[in-house]
Symmetry: C2
Subunit: 253 residues, 2 copies
């Protein structure tokens, strides 16, 4: 299923709206830069009931960007990209997106005007003007803090790599997104090891397959996370697990 | 090309050995946990001349793990996975890897013995014993700090999600990896904007296509990064760019 941003005032009956993130940039793969956008996007999408299902990270390589983008946009309701929309020769995201959609790559007059307004027309050299070249079908993703040309093509949101700008563009993107049901989570902790509660935890998962249950080892403790769209239900189930844990603790003494 | 770990004492003439990382875990996609393994692996591989070319992040979903793993292991010399090898029901990486290779999933006696030695035989319950079930073809990735069963199947290295254990397993993995030529990088900074140097920077890239050149905007400055396997060459080219920058700065005054 593809959801087009123009239908954004419609609330789908489907509780699970899916999304993917495509991070573009040699600097992430070489270790020079630590990505900060994944965690922000994961949390922000969760807030509005959209499930981030997959992330791909590729270098500044046109064929890789096109392949990943076409794969992800066919599989998920929304795809967000991060990086590669600046003025230098290694910024090839906009052109790659255009090719992925077999679209015409041309100067977007609205984007050009934003650059003129921001820098003054006399300061918009060839490199800056390059940022106004977008796929013909692109709709601009206007944002308050940057004249960088974030844009939307169908279900793909093309955004900057710099975290502050990525975040501002996501704020702008939100009004184009269809929200799903929010996923709530409850985390409980125990000093028991994962293996001491694994069997009962698996039984509980079988009893409530609609709730996603994960176990994460920490230093001297184990965290159990319950996730679902019905808060009361995950509250009930996490209490059930808490009682099981208490019994195991008592039996150990 | 697939490189098999057993040939690890052979240095290939190919300078570019490629790798991918597959991060497995709902906790990364929900935003609960920030991944720390990507940046560590990127830097560590770089040190030994292996290029990290792609990263995929998927949830605890068998079909997703199998699809991503089969895709990546066909495309790159090495694949590292992170996460999902613990004792609880949401730890499904080992079984998924086994299925991806159409291998028999069975108890590995060596892995069982490590668990017995670590915990004491009487403390290895069903959940802990689950960690000893591996693909038949698996070779153990022994490491100093954990009894968790990291393992190797062909060109795939299956490692833990907990950063400290991931790092220890990578140390163990290193002796099975064929090194390539190390990629060196030099970074220069300027107070000029990206757009002020974009044209000359692109010209330089055309002149030296064998060097990867990237531009990264920062607060009040621009970083230019030159990467290549010949240190003297990137030093020369970065100095050439430095001289160009000086001229542009002078012309601006």
């Amino acid at each position: 299923m593809q959801i087009h941003p123009s239908n954004s005032n419609q609330i789908l009956p489907n509780s699970f709206i899916s999304a993917a993130l495509l991070i573009i940039g040699d600097e992430i793969l070489s270790g020079r830069t630590e990505d900060k956008n994944l965690n922000f996007l994961a949390k922000s999408l969760n807030e509005i009931g959209i499930n981030l299902k997959e992330v791909q990270i590729v270098g500044d390589v046109e064929s890789q960007i096109i392949e990943s983008l076409n794969n992800l946009r066919a599989k998920y309701n929304y795809v967000f990209t991060s990086g590669g929309i600046g003025p230098t020769h290694d910024d090839i995201t906009s052109l790659s997106v255009s090719k992925a959609f077999n679209d015409v790559f041309e100067k977007n007059l609205e984007a050009e005007q934003i650059l003129f307004n921001h820098y003054g027309k006399e300061n918009v050299n060839e490199a800056r003007l390059k940022m106004a070249f977008l796929p013909r079908k692109a709709k601009l993703l206007e944002n308050s803090i940057s004249s960088a040309p974030g844009f939307i093509v169908e279900n793909v949101f093309v955004m900057a790599g710099v975290p502050k700008i990525f975040q501002a563009m996501f704020e702008a993107a939100k009004k184009h997104l269809i929200s799903g049901n929010k996923t709530y989570s409850i985390e409980i902790k125990t000093f028991l090891t994962e293996s001491a509660i694994a069997k009962e935890f698996a039984n509980l998962q079988q009893k409530y397959p609609q709730i996603a249950m994960g176990s994460y080892p920490g230093i001297g403790q184990t965290s159990l996370v319950f996730r679902g769209i019905n808060y009361e239900e995950i509250e009930t189930v996490s209490k059930e697990m808490n009682n099981i844990i208490l019994k195991i603790e008592v039996n150990k003494k």
